[in-house]
Symmetry: C2
């Protein structure tokens, strides 16, 4: 079972592909990084770049589940707009590819990874590294956040993860 | 030259395909209506439906330009989020199809159609009917708004419209 975790963004969009092998084993990191789009490009061109990158990632790993961190409206509506659009594009692309989509709130992600819904970012990143057996904390933070969302999704869907890994079917 | 005007929305998304024949002639209405998605469906499924509908519309009419009305953040952030996501999905799909994308503010659209940036909705709809030679005011209002955006785009790009119609090349 391959899960694509996404920390949505227009300038930097964190992504992490985890392979859930079995409930008793640590998930394997198959891809981890950040999609970037040029800040001086037109918004729609940037959205199309993200769409293409997500399509490529999903095709490469036969991603069955896509988990996104919910975008919370902050002070800057203009920035939020691009992030929300990026999330929308990724969701639609995921459905088109036949994936299951899920969305989790920031506190839900933090709680799933650290046990504390108000955990600071550094603690989340550190726990991500521990849970995934990484030699270092993922950098930039967007990548760590994406990994945290993917881990949250696996924690929320243990039964299905166990079933699909037991039957050996890559969803 | 075919222009697809869009009044973005998740529950109701207005669309209007106009064919610009020549600068001296009234544009022809080739399609006018509203895309609807079921309110009880998951957001990502609704976005994927819109993506599919837009893809179909663009393919049917060889749309060269897609013009959207800019989404303005209102009081209800939750509603705005879905509308912004829908706009993002449509933009990315337009770029993927090789179309030129443009976005216009609500006041810009009103001014282009009625000559007054603060014109009431009914006046915009009435002018749309007049400019397009329609027997009645488009209904629902989302369809009229989409037609207004398409008209605004044609008003903003007269030179290119004239060139493409003169050479007979459908972009």
């Amino acid at each position: 079972m391959f899960v694509l975790g996404i920390d949505p963004g227009l300038s930097r969009c964190g992504y992490c592909v985890l392979e859930a092998v079995a409930t008793t084993q640590r998930p394997r990191v198959r891809a981890l990084g950040v999609l970037r789009t040029p800040p001086d490009a037109l918004v729609w061109d940037r959205l199309a770049m993200i769409q293409g990158d997500i399509q490529a990632l999903m095709g490469e790993f036969q991603v069955g589940d896509v988990a996104l961190e919910r975008v919370v409206f902050g002070a800057n509506a203009r920035t939020a707009s691009g992030v929300i659009q990026a999330a929308g594009v990724i969701m639609a692309e995921a459905v088109r590819s036949g994936a299951v989509v899920a969305e989790y709130g920031p506190n839900q992600v933090k709680e799933a990874v650290t046990g504390w819904g108000a955990a600071p970012k550094a603690q989340v990143a550190s726990m991500v590294a521990t849970l995934l057996g990484l030699a270092a904390v993922p950098d930039p933070p967007d990548a760590a956040d994406a990994a945290a969302v993917a881990l949250c999704h696996l924690a929320m869907t243990p039964l299905r993860a166990a079933t699909t890994s037991a039957s050996g079917v890559a969803r």
